[in-house]
C-alpha cells in the first residue's frame, strides 16, 4: 500500500505546485492569502500520507502543528494585514 500512499502524496504535491504557480500572479491579496491557506491544508494531507508511506509516526505531529499554524496566519491576515481593496 506504500506506493499507493506515495502516489496520492505526489498527486497532492502536483496540485500544490499548480496553485503556487498561479498564486504568484493572483489578482488580489486576499486570493494569494487563500492560496497560502490551501497550501496549509494540502501540506497537512501530504505530511499524513508521508507518515504512513515512510513509517515515521512523528510526522503526524508535524501535520497537526501545520494545520494549527496555517489558521493563525489566516487570522493575522484578516485582522491586521488586509486593508483597502485589491490594489495593495
Amino acid at each position: 500500500m506504500n506506493g499507493f500512499d506515495l502516489a496520492i502524496a505526489l498527486f497532492l504535491l502536483g496540485n500544490l505546485i499548480v496553485a503556487l504557480l498561479v498564486a504568484a500572479r493572483g489578482p488580489t491579496s486576499a486570493d494569494r492569502m487563500l492560496m497560502a491557506l490551501l497550501f496549509g491544508s494540502t501540506g497537512t494531507g501530504i505530511l499524513v500520507l508521508l507518515a504512513q508511506a515512510m513509517h515515521i509516526p512523528a510526522l503526524v505531529d508535524v501535520a497537526l502543528v501545520l494545520a494549527l499554524l496555517a489558521a493563525i496566519g489566516g487570522v493575522a491576515f484578516a485582522k491586521r494585514a488586509w486593508q483597502g481593496d485589491g490594489h495593495d
Binding site: 490551501l38 494531507g45 499524513v48
Partner: protein, 104 residues
C-alpha cells in the same frame, strides 16, 4: 475477510479525498470572487482532508494511531471555520461585493 477488503475501502477513500483536493484547487483558481473562493477552500480543507484521514486511519497499525489521525480532523474543521469567518467578515467590512450572475 476484513483484511481482504480493507485496503480497497481505504484506497477508495484516499482517491475520493484527492479528488476533493483537486476540486478545491480548481475552484480556487476559477471562481470569481472572494466568497466563492472561500467556499472552494472549505471543500478542500474539510472533505479532502477528512477523507484522506479516514482512509489512512483504516490502514493504521493500532487503534490509538488511527484515532490520533482522526483527531486532526475536528481541529482542521475548527481552524478552517474560524479563518473563513474572519476573512469573509473582513471582506464584507471592506465593501467587497458578492459576485452576481452577469457581472464580470
Amino acid at each position: 475477510m476484513t483484511e481482504l477488503i480493507m485496503p480497497w475501502i481505504s484506497g477508495a477513500l484516499l482517491i475520493v479525498g484527492a479528488f476533493f483536493y483537486a476540486a478545491g484547487t480548481l475552484g480556487l483558481l476559477r471562481f470569481p470572487d472572494v466568497y466563492s473562493r472561500l467556499h472552494a477552500l472549505a471543500k478542500a480543507d474539510n472533505l479532502g482532508l477528512g477523507f484522506v484521514l479516514l482512509g489512512l486511519a483504516l490502514q493504521a497499525e493500532s487503534v490509538a494511531a488511527g484515532l490520533k489521525l482522526l483527531l486532526i480532523w475536528p481541529l482542521a474543521l475548527a481552524a478552517s471555520a474560524g479563518v473563513s469567518y474572519a476573512i469573509a467578515r473582513r471582506a464584507d467590512r471592506l465593501g467587497v461585493k458578492p459576485w452576481r450572475k452577469g457581472s464580470p
